[in-house]
């Protein structure tokens, strides 16, 4: 069983990097109740990938503009600016704006990919293809994840205050709008790169379920981050290890393990209350 897993060890390392980065940012995503911003950004990112594949297939654009990562990043950054700077200025409720973005990005992505002629796998919108992650891909993911995690470690105090009570933070001179945008930018960056390999479903899973597990298990911010990371890495290792020998799709296997861990955490919390 482990021999089979070792064959795909680069893919596992890449998945672990995605799990680590998403599980840290996911704590803010869940606590700030912007879970569907994460989903909408992931979907925008996938639409960007589809646009890159379509342009490459049609031969309309050349060079970097046809590269899925470049376009995915560009489209995600547009989404980050839209949500981060406050889409609530229009007379449409924020959740409706998210719904519109999610639906349109999904539809546009599917339409573009249906006409793409590059022969790329069409399941990137849901499952991704983490088994295709190479050592180079892992290094690219590390190059994004490490600086983002370093930024979050250094500016933890600022991100926490701005997320917990932005009005008071503003009165103490914190530039809340700028910090909010900065947080969204780190989120968009991680999502855009993770999406290339993990797909919407797995990225969304890593952004939400480990953080929920962490919040259920721990009663401190530090503990929540720790348990979120532990549960994301555990789900990635267990789900990946089971999927290879049993010929299961890796993404859904990891998500299923994440779900089980969240359920166990919920039952522990329930038992503690009694």
């Amino acid at each position: 069983m482990f021999d089979a897993v070792l064959l795909f060890r680069d893919a596992l390392y890449g998945t672990l990097v995605i799990a680590l980065a998403c599980s840290v940012l996911g704590v803010y995503v869940v606590l700030r109740r912007i879970v569907f911003v994460g989903a909408a950004l992931a979907q925008l990112s996938s639409a960007g990938i589809a646009l890159g594949l379509w342009l490459a297939g049609m031969g309309i654009a050349q060079g970097l503009t046809t590269h899925p990562i470049a376009l995915s990043l560009a489209v995600t950054i547009v989404g980050v600016l839209f949500f981060g700077l406050g889409s609530g200025r229009a007379r449409v409720p924020p959740d409706a704006t998210l719904g519109v973005t999610y639906a349109v990005a999904t539809a546009v992505g599917i339409l573009l990919i249906s006409k793409a002629t590059t022969g790329e796998a069409h399941d990137i919108f849901l499952q991704g293809n983490i088994l295709s992650i190479t050592r180079f891909d892992t290094n690219v993911l590390m190059a994004v994840a490490v600086p983002v995690l370093a930024v979050h470690a250094i500016f933890y105090k600022e991100f926490l205050f701005m997320s917990f009570d932005r009005e008071t933070a503003r009165t103490l001179g914190f530039r809340v709008g700028a910090w909010n945008l900065f947080l969204y930018l780190t989120l968009g960056l991680v999502i855009a790169f993770a999406m290339q390999f993990a797909g919407v479903m797995l990225v969304f899973n890593f952004l939400v379920l480990p953080a929920v597990t962490g919040l259920l298990v721990s009663r401190s911010m530090g503990g929540t981050f720790l348990w979120s990371i532990v549960s994301a890495l555990s789900a990635a290792v267990i789900g990946f290890s089971l999927s290879v020998p049993f010929d299961l799709p890796s993404g859904p296997a990891i998500i299923a393990v994440s779900g089980i861990l969240a359920l166990v955490a919920f039952l522990i919390r329930l038992a503690q209350r009694r």
Partner: protein, 258 residues
Amino acid sequence: MTALVSFNHATLGYGRRVVLSDLTFEIPEGDFLGIVGPNGAGKTTILRAILRTLKPLAGSVSHAPNLRYGYVPQRDQVDYNFPLKVVDVVMMGRYDRIGLGRRPGSKDRDLACAALEHVGILDLADQQLVALSGGQKQRTLIARALVGQPNVLILDEPTSGMDLVSMTQILGLVRELHERDGLTVLMVSHALNEVANYVERIALVTSGEVRVGAVDEIMSPSVLSEIYGIPVDVEAVNGHRIVVARRLGYHGDVAHDV
């Protein structure tokens, strides 16, 4: 008394929408001012101008140099889902002094504990914020405002949604902070009856105007009737003033006792 904040013919609003116009009044050092008015009258707009998070559309709002505010937001503005201890929340009041990218140290924790002791809940320092009662949460937020050693304490609807006991205790604590520490206090509330018995001056915000004066001056039936546009009585019970609006008839005229 030195004026800490001065409104000079200030017009306040958002974009093109004017909320309050031509405001001229001062908040002197050592003041205990209640900013009172119905919901939507513009109390929060004045608060934002004082806190420098809203620039006046016209006129000016000037602040004394090195003025530092301790802000206590409305309780529902804070997200209690965050797994934070009481002492961690209080330390946030020092975040701007700690410096960018730095973590709070033992000195910050000591100051946070001193602030908690000041408001009478030091024993709750290591409790989860979410586990506290409404009154305890409010004391935590007051301690957070105090830990930054402010010149002015500003409370936004501090008793909103509280029961009678908690409300009385919180207002008593705020009054004590003003009297014991000589702290300048601004308290925003929609409940005139609650605030009038604790503050020294009232800024009554109604219909786009602000009337500022001593409590005795504002709490007179003639002034309140004029401001609210309906007949109002001010009764005294055990030294406490209670504002009572006379019952109105079906067409808005005063109902007479039979």
